[in-house]
Symmetry: C2
Subunit: 108 residues, 2 copies
């Protein structure tokens, strides 16, 4: 492509699509939606307390939490030996319809 003809709009759309691919991939999983739902009910939780609730081995759960964390769907706060994970409502509200967001609000 000749200089000066770079389609700036397409490039930014492309990185927009990449951004949402990451986020939608993170929530495009039954188990991760279940994790999100439990975090909705319980607020912040550590891996060791979450594992029995979702019936997952620790390493598997850490793997799924990392995917949600990398997509900014959840946040992490480490206190001592524990890591507490929590839903990132701001990002979810930006992403999902109000109707769907209700799935991730304790009051709905």
């Amino acid at each position: 492509m000749v200089q000066g003809e770079i389609p700036l709009t397409d490039i930014s759309l492309d990185s927009t699509f990449e951004k949402y691919e990451l986020k939608f991939k993170a929530i495009a999983d039954k188990k991760r939606l279940q994790i999100m739902n439990i975090l909705t009910q319980k607020g912040a939780m550590c891996v060791c307390d979450l594992a029995p609730l979702v019936d997952m081995a620790q390493s598997k759960l850490s793997y799924h939490l990392k995917i949600l964390l990398d997509a900014n769907i959840i946040t992490k706060e480490t206190r001592g030996t524990w890591s507490y994970y929590e839903l990132n409502h701001k990002v979810l509200n930006h992403l999902l319809s109000p109707e769907l967001c209700c799935l991730f609000k304790p009051t709905c």
Copy 2:
């Protein structure tokens, strides 16, 4: 599990999560988001006209369109030898935030 102790709520949540897994998986892909964006601009399109725009072989494009169609993100109407695909705005509006839906509206 003993009869009568079936957790109805969890079962329905489970099928809810499965439903959204399918839908989010469909849109959790850069190429499919690009297809959706082009359908936003152009309205209904047939495979043969869409293929060069997204720079994809016919079989590959048909594969991705089928995934979007199965998730009800797009609709299909066959006229003669042609199949016209179109965005399903109703489903998208239910799924995505108004902010995000703008990505898939020609007027935004």
